[in-house]
Amino acid sequence: MSIQLYRVDERLIHGQVIVGWGNELHPERIIVVDDDLAGSAWEQELYALGLPDEMTAVFCSVEEAIRRLGEWETDPVKSLLLTREVETMTRLAASGRLQGKEINIGGLHYAPGRRSILPYVYLSEAERHALKDLVESGAVPSAQDLPGGRRISVERLLKGGPEVS
């Protein structure tokens, strides 16, 4: 398996991903799937500043990602695939290509309209629905911020606040 981690994290390329998961999984490539970012060269440049020398980044739209998932899954380059929204991962999953794949919900922080579920997971109603759709598509989401952290099942995430302890 060449995509070692599918992760929803609104901070995308940041310390937990590069250092926390990077030291555990040693990825060579970060795949960022986001329609807006795919069309914004300057934002891609900002995110790429955070990459260590041994990693490269690919920024692409959902449509392109669906087309290339098979290629990324089989090529020998070890990759992490990131989206900043649950809904983006759900659109990827709707293609049927994430059947049985574990999806890591890694960071959705406070914003108006979101409810606290975990210290690093806040969900709006729309995001709860997207999470349910992700499950229905056959993917297996769970929350875990770092490799050493506790994995929280999607059932517990969907139960909602107060914060899961």
Partner: protein, 140 residues
Amino acid sequence: MSEGKVGGVVVAHGSMAAGLVEAVRAITGSDADALIPISNARLSPAALADQVRSACGTMPVIVFTDLPSGSCGFAARLLTREIGSMAVICGVNLPMLLDYVTHRDLPLDELVARLVEKGRASINGTPSSIAPNVDPAVPR
């Protein structure tokens, strides 16, 4: 922030920013408004950018971040596109901030160059920095 002086905002993970600012105040007794600490804890990228934007105000300002990458560095660099008189220095350390509070009246560009140099110069390690001309085989 003080009129005519370059403002400072420290953006970092966990409680690092508050700790650095507290240390600067303890050592220099500097004005409470010289540096504003911001933690990225539990903040979405948009919420973090809002906090940094609000702290920066309209005067010349330097945003100090811990890591060059990640949410703190990203939020700061993002704002340079909308705040003209703003600079970002990544890899903040205490010696850099101590120099900042005593040289805030310098022009922004000059101050940034100075602080980057001060920050770099303050990093060293042992044993390479211990009496490099002394033969380690000779008992002292």
